[in-house]
Amino acid sequence: MLYDIVERSLKLCSRYGFNEFEVYVVNDVGTEVLGIDKGVEKVVSGEEFLLGVRVVMGRKVCVYGGMVSRVEDVDVLVNSASKIVRTLPEDRGWVSLPKKLGTSVVEGIVDVGIKDLELDRYVELVNYMIKKPRDVDRRAFTTNVNMYLGYVRRVITNNYGDVVEDERTRTSISVSVKVVDNGDESGYTENYSAPNLSRFNPDELVVKAVEGAVRGLRSKRVYTGSYDVVLMPRVFTSLINSLIAPALCADQVQKGRSPLKGMLGLKVFSENITVVDDGTYPGMLGSKCFDDEGIPTKRKVLIDKGVLMSYLYDTYTANIDSKESTGNAFRPTPHTVPKPWISNIVVERGNYELDTLISELRNGLVIYDVIGMWLSNPVSGLLNATVANAVYVDRGDVKHSVKGVVITGDVYELLKTDEVVLTSSKEVLGRYEVPAVYIPKISVAGEG
């Protein structure tokens, strides 16, 4: 049916006399195994075909699409797009759809075990992870284990003639654990997200979840003030994703919604920070052969030793700046308008051992998890997050667990000083490969 949808869409678009058109079809097969404390609760499974058409009349552009139940649904979707596009005002920034499509070679993005879905094996695995926490710590029990397994095929083509297609698998596994000890409770969740299961170790995932929950016991707030902090990779990832990644996207820069506007070639962060976007990185969640408008993915340095080197572009924003697309067009669904977004972010490692950084904290926090980082403001660079799992360190000694305090600051001030340093160890977390980071003097709102 995938190719039937593509063919029918192309035929109809040609007939309607659009100046340009693009057809994007996705076949998504997904299965989710849901486990709770009592065992595997249910399995949800299904398959869908999604179509998005982007049609252009002069400089009038419309994107229309949705789920396709029968191949005849294509007629309704293209017909509607045709009706709407003629009524729209012109977009003066419009130049053209991409004229040349292509693919990169990317390894590790298809896992045969996921593609062929050995369901019984995965149900057993979820069942194992449900029972495992009690073996690690008798105070611990599982609250949820979810395992998603997906297989996606994509085809993109447009009126300029190229056709690109690829396939990927994806898995996302989470285990949530709670620990109860002498009337106190604490919870923690660990995740694994990747196109394959090569790095997946269920025991390690469960142990880390239990350790996180135990670390959160008997937590209290620290006093309001200024603290030196170590953000563990999960928190640093969250900071980059909420504050820095949006500011690197060309659409935000062009609309004046990025503090990085006009900063190309300038030092914006500590010289210890180098950030790369790489859609071809083997086996990472955001790895794929081409972006969501058919441009080959590639590696590009965004921040080099603290200096801003490039923004992220799709074709539309690249045309505005007279640049080439960086292969970063992103669409959550085929019927949404593309916009620039990260593929995979790799932050280069530093020279510091994590233990050394912690032992050198005089009055600091080591922050393992936060909530609400996404509520920070990428337009102003104002960081805001509530600590959900951390420890207070006094002169190198871990004193107690911390939660419920708010960290705030201007991220461009916080990360600019060369006192900011990174650890030599890194973690892969979905689309991110990131070390831990030491940041001096973050404002903390807590007691008093």
Partner: protein, 467 residues
């Protein structure tokens, strides 16, 4: 040829029962979402998305399989039934799921729509968004503006082997405006939106230039404002801030699926005090200003559930499965984003009940505090297992000597929900509930429309972050 939802659902239901299912639930859905976005004077997108298909859930010997398909033909449906049965049979080894019995209902619910948004000329809709957007872009101090007009039509048919047959059609329309103002090196973003359950007549009856002007003016003022000094404040929260706080920080913890897995801070607390006696909290299916959910996605009637009565935890929200685990009824809170998911326990319209005070009385006697305003809030996040929450609030005001005075920006509030609700010491009488066509409540990757709100309330201790 099978053409109607009822015939398609009936085929799935009969096939599943014939092949050995103990219980069957079928959902058919067609959902249309259109959004027009103008960004800095340019039409950013006119996009339309459509979801349609069938989902079937079967129970066989305690095992549950849910399968969805976009293919609404005999082959696609029969294949889905067989797959669901196969999954359920293999899972019966691992878990014993059961459902509480219900009184089956047959009904058709449709929101009144004066002017169908689908029928309005695209040129008219685009013209309105363009006019508002370009007008804002001309103002001094405004650096970027995003204006959106959206509507959603959600048609569903739900049937089950125990006699449920519910058809529904809900239409929402809404308008949203986000302005970024810059003052020196400070950029500040302010958003506001209005949503109406019904048709395009709502859009036609409002002055959207005036609406946008308010947002723009506030953004300009906020960009010149300071951030609050971090610390603990006496706080008066407005209707939307209360709604956000209660929905996120307490509502999720009261969802029974989190309770049965031990993921809720409220586990084991029914009958215990969880809030000041001034606080009563309700989840109600149909409320003025909210999102109508007369029946949940298991076809169970969603009436009024009193979750907290005078500060005492009264009842958790539940579904048929969660009700069976809790030994209680289903409260009609099983909801799905669309047919590609099976249901979770979700809130419908969750709000704090009003009391007798005027808003002014809440400010009286507050020598130094903060007036927390929900308009433009970016949202919130909570860890329901421990009750920790955080919210990003819109531009708010420092209270001095009983009056809201200085505007502050970048306000983030945080705390533990039980401590916060225990510290409520005044509740006003001005109940307001709202919903939002542009977003919804997220849980386990699913987003559903909800309503939230309450009256103004005052709390004695609220942690506020800032620079």
């Amino acid at each position: 040829m099978i053409t109607t939802y009822e015939e398609l659902a009936s085929l799935a239901l009969e096939e599943a029962l014939k092949k050995g299912a103990d219980h069957v639930l079928v959902r058919i859905q067609e959902k249309l979402y259109e959004v027009i976005i103008y960004d800095c004077g340019v039409l950013k997108s006119y996009s339309v998305g459509r979801v349609s298909g069938l989902g079937i859930r079967v129970l066989v010997s305690g095992g549950v399989g849910y399968v969805y398909t976009a293919s609404l033909d005999r082959g696609g449906i029969v294949g889905s039934v067989e797959k669901a049965l196969s999954i359920a049979r293999s899972l019966s080894r691992y878990a014993q799921v059961g459902y509480v019995s219900i009184k089956p209902v047959k009904d058709f619910f449709k929101v009144n729509v004066g002017v169908d948004p689908y029928d309005v000329d695209p040129e008219v809709k685009v013209g309105l968004v363009k006019e508002v957007n370009t007008s804002s872009m001309r103002k001094d101090g405004i650096k970027s503006v995003v204006t959106r007009l959206a509507y959603e039509v959600d048609r569903k048919y739900i049937t089950s082997s125990d006699g449920v047959s519910i058809k529904s059609e809900v239409t929402l329309v809404g308008f949203s405006h986000t302005a970024v103002a810059k003052y020196g090196m400070i950029s500040e973003k302010v958003s506001n939106s209005k949503t109406f359950v019904g048709g395009y007549e709502f859009v036609e009856s409002h002055d959207w230039l005036a609406f946008a002007d308010e947002v723009d003016s506030l953004a300009i003022k906020a960009s010149q404002a300071k951030t609050p000094t971090p610390g603990t404040y006496v706080a008066v929260l407005d209707n939307e801030a209360v709604g956000l706080l209660v929905h996120e920080a307490f509502g999720h913890a009261s969802e029974g699926d989190l309770v049965i897995t031990g993921s809720s801070v409220l586990r084991g607390m029914v009958g215990e005090r969880v809030a000041n006696e001034l606080v009563s909290i309700v989840d109600e299916g149909v409320v003025d200003g909210g999102y109508p959910v007369p029946y949940d996605d298991e076809g169970v009637s969603k009436g009024r559930t009193v979750v907290v009565k005078d500060g005492i935890l009264n009842e958790f929200l539940s579904s048929r499965y969660v009700g069976s685990r809790l030994g209680r009824r289903s409260t009609g809170n099983a909801r799905v984003q669309d047919i590609t998911y099976d249901s979770l326990v979700r809130q419908t319209n969750y709000y704090v009940e009003p009391k007798d005070l005027s808003i002014d009385e809440l400010f009286e006697g507050v020598s130094h505090g903060i007036y927390v305003v929900g308009r433009g809030a970016s949202g919130g996040e909570v860890d329901p297992s421990i009750g920790t929450y955080t919210f990003s609030i819109g531009p708010s005001y420092i209270i001095k000597n009983g009056e809201p005075t200085e505007l502050v920006r970048g306000v983030v509030v945080s705390g533990n929900i039980l401590e916060t609700l225990m510290s409520v010491d005044a509740v006003a009488k001005d109940l307001k509930v709202v919903t939002n066509v542009f977003g919804g409540c997220g849980k386990d990757s699913q987003t559903v429309k909800v309503g939230f709100g309450g009256p103004h309330i005052r709390v004695r201790k609220l942690v506020v972050g800032g620079l």
